[in-house]
Every structure is written in C-alpha cells, then in structure tokens.
Symmetry: C2
C-alpha cells in the first residue's frame, strides 16, 4: 500500500523536487504487527536529515499513523518513508514557504534467517565514494553512487558490496554500515565526509558504550577489514549480518557479532512487546 | 503543459527510481515556435548521459514530437525533459529489462535582454563540489549540491553563484558553465571530476575551434577568474551572460563575450529559420 500526503494513491507530482533534484530524504525500516520498530530513532534521524536540507518534516504522529495504515495487519513489513521539498517551479532555488511531499509505502518482509545465522558473502566495489561533507551522513535522495555500485555485480550469492572513498578508506556497504571486531573492541568508519550515519550503526555504537565495549569511529583501510577478527554489516531491516565471505576470504561469525545481533533483537523485542 | 510517457498528465509513479534515487538524467533548453533549439545536440547529450547510467533513452523523434506538443504555439518556451529508470521495487539494483519514465514540460520563456546586454552580478558560493569522476559531466538528477549552493543567497540582484571544487578550482555556476577570456584566448574549467558538460559549453568550445580562437579546457583558480579580461556564463536557455559584477569586482562586457553571444544567436537563428 502507498500513501502520498496521507491519501491512498501511488502517484506524485511530475514537478516534485524529489524527482527533479533528489531534493529530499528517506528512511527504510521494519514494522511488526503494524508498529514501526525503533520509531523514535527513525523519526529523529529523518528530522535531523531534513534539517540539513532545511526541509519541512511532517509531525511524528502523522507519519506513525500512516505507517500503521500501510502495514495493516501484516506481521512484518519493510516500510519506506520519503519526504521531499514538494512540487516547485523550474530552478534550484527554494523558498521557506514551500510545502513537502511525503510518501509512505510498505512491502511484506521475509526475514533472511540464514543470512543472520550463517552470514553473507560480500565483494569490494570499484566505485569510490566522493567526499561531500555538506551532505555526509544524511540519507538523502541523491543515491546514484549506490545505484552504480550495486550495478557492479549480478551474482545473487553476493549479498552486499563494500564501498571505499576517494582516499581508499572503507566507508560502508551499498545499503549497510560496516563494523569490525578486533580483540574484543569494535570499530566502524567515520561518515563525516561521505556515507550514511544509519540508525542501526548509531544503536551499535550506543550499545557498545553502555556495555563498556570500546567502539572506535575512525578511518579503516581495506587491510584493516581483511585483518579483523570479525566483520559484520548492519541496517534497520536486516539487523546485523556476519560476513562469511569477504571477497573470497572465508570467515566464521564470531562472538562480538553474535552479541550485537542479540542486543539488537532483544531491544527490538522489548520495544514491540 | 506536461506529458508523462506521452500522456497529458502531471503525475509519475511514487515508486519511480527518479524519485527514490535520482536515477535519471535531464535537459533544459529553449524552443521557438514549438521547435526545440539545437535539438540534435540536446538529444545527443541526453543519450550520452543516459548511457553513463545504462538508462534506456526514448527515440529522438518521440521526444521531439512531445516537445512540439507541450510548446504548442507559444513563441518561446523553456522545455525540460526528464528521463528516469522508471518504477522499481525496493533496492538499488536495476535490471536490463526495466523500463523508463519520460517527463516533458514547458513554461513560457521571457528573454532577459538586460542580462544579455549589460551582464549579471554573480557571487562565489561556499559549498565545494565533490569529485565523482563516475558521474562528472553528466546532467543527472542528483542535484543536491546545486540546491544547497543556490540556497546560499536570496538577493534577487545576484543572478548566479560560482562553485569551486574540493581543491578550490572554479568549476561552474549553479546552472551555467563559465568561460574566461584572456588576451583573445578563451578558457573554461575541465568537468571530468565534477560539474556538468553543458551543450552550450560544448558549442562555444567548437565555435572557438572553427574560428581559430584558442580555448583551453583546464583547471582555473578563483584568481584566474578575477584576473581575466572577460568572464561570461553560458547555458542553453540564456545563451551567454557577461559577468558585470564578480563578487563586487565591477567589469564591462568585452569583445570576446560579444562575439560568443553573436555566434550562438546566429547559429540558433540559422537553425530555426
């Protein structure tokens, strides 16, 4: 089901600035029995991202009601919310009086239990992410880098591609953030020059702090990833995926990955119980 | 008037990849008495840009007919063509079998004669363009950098903002390409790491070659711009605008700018006569 500005329709204006310029932000996250998982965090991130673009963001309760409507009584859904600057005249300029367009959609979600348990195979992409500090961290609608990177492989056995930046540092997967574990400490790339600061990344960093586990937000090279004890990928829909095949290097899911998986699941269960 | 895939409607699918990811390309150009100006070049550039993204591009005659339809008997129109990868399921991946969406719109065009004659005031933007060679030169729908740069000023006396890249080199205006003239030679920034290789930029480079005028495609610093004999900005809608106020530095339109203006006008007139 699709709601556009609260109405059951599947079309937006052909003059929408989201289409013309990618002038908007989005979120993708699960809902269980109609309830958006980690909603406060998802909404807070949407609002923070919108603020970077000086976008109006709909009220949290309006969006939450729409999420519940599109999910209906489906037990598990993947929800996507897009918020754009709305329809506009020709030209890049926007005005403070402009409106916004919101699109809320859901699709049934089938959990990939084997990916969670046994891990996934990943490859290194050749596309390099550009440095744009003005947009780094934000989940905006300018996602051609992700589209180009995802087009680098078609083998269905490869679940994700890892992206490096122009300096060769590892940043993220095309749709995930990446963590490594070395000697009982975690590390994840900084995303202040490119990449997205995802909600689950933020949750793992917080969980580590709460449990007294060191978690560095830093620059990581490809050899740091290869040399790590464990590598896992996170996003809101999949939780944490252990990496079992890193561009041919075979690995086993380790205890830090299992701890993060357990922590995320238990927190989601506690919230939706 | 708006045509979406040839039909008179003003809506596109809320699942369009143009909206979701900016997964598409566009062109903006004038039409006179219904006929698209420099149509072969505009179409060729659209097709080249689409090829970079492995996008299907509609046939030239289909698009040309649609341009004529949206312009009707309006004497002068600004036409915009958007071509996206069409509606898609969730996820960055696309398939070769996917369709495309085309949006053709027009708005009446009033020529800004004073800008052409007397020149325009421009400022330097603080946003720096990121280097992404995989997308450089292409007029794709990921235009948040332009939106952010255009939001840096609201003074209506400022017609354009000049953008530098992460290394501080001048690249372009938010909606124009830039040229300078020094000692009877032209120069314009390279756009192989960021920026758009506009059709009028290409025409000026060709005109210079035809007339035996040197035209360097190179790296230009802000002080190269400040020290130039002449500075002008080009795009398909406005032709060439002399810069008469460069961040406070007052200038006079010079002979090279007038020559380029005359050449562009005469070529357009010859074509639409």
């Amino acid at each position: 089901m699709i709601l556009v500005n609260g109405e059951a329709r599947d079309q937006v204006s052909a003059m929408d600035r989201g289409l013309a310029y990618g002038d908007g932000v989005f979120r993708t996250f699960p809902a269980r029995n109609g309830a958006p998982v980690q909603w406060q965090r998802q909404y807070a991130k949407l609002a923070r991202d919108a603020a970077v673009l000086e976008l109006r963001v709909p009220q949290a309760d309006v969006l939450e009601t729409e999420v519940r409507t599109v999910c209906g009584d489906e037990p598990a859904c993947a929800v996507k919310i897009i918020v754009t600057r709305g329809a506009g005249a020709r030209g890049y300029r926007y005005t403070a009086e402009g409106g916004c367009t919101r699109v809320v959609t859901s699709t049934p979600l089938t959990e990939n239990v084997s990916a969670q348990r046994e891990g996934v195979a990943v490859r290194r992409c050749s596309l390099r992410l550009a440095h744009q500090p003005a947009l780094a961290g934000v989940k905006h609608l300018n996602r051609l880098e992700n589209v180009l990177a995802r087009a680098e492989w078609s083998d269905p056995r490869i679940a994700e591609g890892i992206l490096c930046d122009v300096e060769g540092y590892v940043i993220a997967g095309t749709m995930t953030n990446i963590f490594i574990a070395v000697d009982d400490a975690l590390a994840t790339p900084r995303v202040d020059r490119c990449g997205v600061a995802g909600v689950t990344r933020e949750r793992v960093i917080e969980a580590a702090a709460l449990q007294g586990v060191a978690c560095a937000v830093t620059t990581l090279s490809w050899s740091d990833i290869l040399g790590a004890d464990e590598v896992f990928l996170v996003n809101s829909l999949n939780g944490a995926w252990p990496v079992r095949d890193l561009d041919g290097q075979v690995r086993m899911p380790g205890p830090m990955t299992r701890w993060v998986q357990g922590w995320l699941e238990q927190a989601d269960d506690a919230q939706t119980a």
